[in-house]
């Protein structure tokens, strides 16, 4: 059986591995338009900040005997009648099963001059390498437009490299699509501590410059022009559905898939940042462009392509963001719309910020913001697993708003001895001399 997988990042690699695990006679071709062998895309911010060596990029190649990786190969179209992927340059590649794992691309600014050499997305290894070259070539000031996850990570990485970075956000706090403004403002504070200047209510209206380079960006509102050597687009991502659109499905909200991750076309599956799967928190189809969901979907689509009949339980948006001393974990619905939602917030200077979102007493979202690892991301998995299985808040064996495990009522000896009843605390002798007498 010939399998063709378009896209060689999280979903594509997981699918290739899964196909080989089910079908030992599989011939898999992985297509990537990038010139690099498979690498981990989210690591570009760490590599740009020089926090990791470049060799960490590379991911272990999937079963070399069965999987062929074709780099710098772009799929231009799909012919579902003849079962062929048309490659750019005129060649074509026939398939028995096809997976579209084309991922997403940075959302464009829709401004004139966006094609300039110093206006970049922050999505691929080439983007990071161009930014690195610009920094080594003397770029001193950078403007990051948009406070999405990409924007926050890019701003943090550029500031770590010693650039004068301004993060310009249209809304009133960073990560407005990911978390509530209260948590977003804590991220803004952490970014300021790291040397990033955060400006809210700044919408770019024009790029100014000459000779194919942008030298300043005009913001309206508030009607100010900021000079820059570099511009990074950080307004989030949008699914790359070009191939699916030719086939007659897929729009700006991704490629629709069924519970087995099949697209409406026969023998074509979709997974990863491009697939619109069932979201367990929203209880509706939604694109969740995150690494864990992409791997999960890629592996399941791969097994199903090779003949398995598994259904996908659904994805859940979750993110872990680290900025300096701050750590933010969010999952599910963090900014509930009007409706039967209840929000519980706790802000404790020592234990950090926590938010839990309930829908009819069922846990559907959570945000945990901690500093210096308190509360760290350590046990947030319990909370997220509870969201995933749709647990009621009353049924949880722990308090989702507490940082530490509650030890009240749990004393090792006492719990076992009294069978869980909490009697009055034993009265210890007070008043020093008497006490000492007693204990002697």
């Amino acid at each position: 059986m010939r399998y063709v997988i378009v896209g060689a990042c999280a979903a594509g690699l997981a699918a290739a591995e899964a196909v080989c695990s089910v079908d030992p006679s599989a011939e898999v071709t992985l297509l990537t338009e990038e010139p690099y062998p498979p690498y981990s895309r989210p690591l570009i911010s760490y590599a740009l900040a020089r926090e990791i060596p470049v060799t960490l990029y590379d991911l272990p190649p999937p079963s070399p005997g069965q999987v062929r990786v074709r780099t710098s190969t772009r799929a231009a179209g799909v012919d579902p009648e003849r079962k062929e992927v048309v490659l750019e340059g005129g060649h074509s590649l026939s398939y028995d099963r096809l997976l579209l794992a084309t991922g997403a691309s940075s959302r464009p600014l829709d401004l004139a001059g966006e094609g300039s050499t110093n206006v970049l997305g922050f999505r691929t290894r080439s983007d990071a390498e161009v930014l690195d070259r610009e920094i080594r070539g003397g770029a001193r000031t950078a403007l990051v437009l948009g406070g999405g996850l990409v924007g926050v990570k890019a701003a943090h990485a550029l500031a770590t490299r010693g650039l004068d970075v301004t993060l310009c956000i249209g809304s009133d706090a960073p990560l407005s699509q990911v978390v509530n403004p209260e948590a977003g403002r804590k991220v803004a504070e952490a970014l300021e501590d790291e040397g990033v200047s955060v400006r809210t209510g700044y919408r770019p209206s024009a790029l100014e410059g000459e000779g194919g380079r942008v030298t300043a960006v005009r913001f309206d509102p508030p009607g100010e022009t900021l000079r820059c050597d570099l511009v990074v687009r950080g307004k989030g991502v949008r699914p790359r559905t070009e191939l699916a659109e030719v086939l007659g499905f897929g729009d700006r909200d991704g490629i629709p898939v069924d519970a087995r991750l099949r697209t409406p076309a026969p023998d074509i599956w979709a997974a990863g940042d491009v697939a619109r799967t069932f979201d367990v928190a929203w209880q509706a189809p939604r694109v969740n462009a995150i690494w864990p969901a992409a791997v999960e979907q890629g592996a399941l689509a791969g097994r199903n392509m090779a003949g398995s009949h598994e259904t996908y339980p659904g994805s859940l948006a979750m993110n872990s963001v680290k900025v300096g001393h701050l750590h933010l974990v969010s999952a599910g619905i963090t900014r509930p719309p009007d409706g039967p939602y209840e929000v519980r917030d706790v802000w404790d200077p020592t234990a950090g910020y926590r938010r839990v979102v309930l829908r009819d007493d069922v846990l559907v979202g959570a945000v945990v913001v901690g500093t210096d690892g308190r509360p760290g991301p350590d046990r947030t998995g319990l909370l997220i697993a509870a969201i995933r299985r749709g647990a009621r808040i009353g049924d949880l064996p722990f308090d989702p708003l507490a940082d530490r495990i509650s030890w009240s009522g749990f004393a090792f000896g006492r719990e076992a001895v009294t069978g869980g009843r909490r009697g009055p605390a034993a009265t210890l002798p007070t008043g020093d001399p008497v006490g000492k007498e007693v204990f002697r």
Binding site: G381, V417, T418, G420
Partner: protein
Amino acid sequence: MKTVMVHPQRCVGCMQCQSACAVAHSHTQTLYGAVFEEPRPAPRIHVGPGPGNLAFPNKCRHCDPAPCMQACMPAALWRDIPTGAVLVDPSRCINCGMCAMACPFGVIRYRADARTPGRTVAVKCDNCVERQKEGRVPACVETCLVGALEFGDPNEILRDESRRLAREVSLGIRQAPAAIPQRPEAVELWRAMGDAAEALGPGG
């Protein structure tokens, strides 16, 4: 695949497994040496209140497929095929927090590690693969005095447990359990003692 099975109804919350685990993952391999090591070795098993507020030793289940492995962006988490254990490669770990976010059991922590000086990395149970190579059982199992931790093939442990139950029920010396198995007799007696002590009142 052999792994550590937990019998929560036997656990008395003594936390010996925690210290044994930290010692087993220390440089000196002795309790007194481990206490003075810098960074201090961290336990990979944690005793905390579980369902019913009873002590529960919580550790990695080495799931397959493992959500933490799926969430790991730099491929620092990997599976040791011979033992089936999910292990961390500290040199690849970037401390991003994704694995802990994905772990449904909350058993991954971030700690300074002696193998990667100056960096905080993910620390989790490794099923004592090094001890297993020497033919020894994991440190937490070796030290557990009440038999709450058992090392073996999960299928065999469950089979033995259900056979024992079937035999005892058929002999009439044990009743088929409701949803939650009964606590061992020792714990029941200890609790009865506590009730008696409480009835006497303070200072009694």
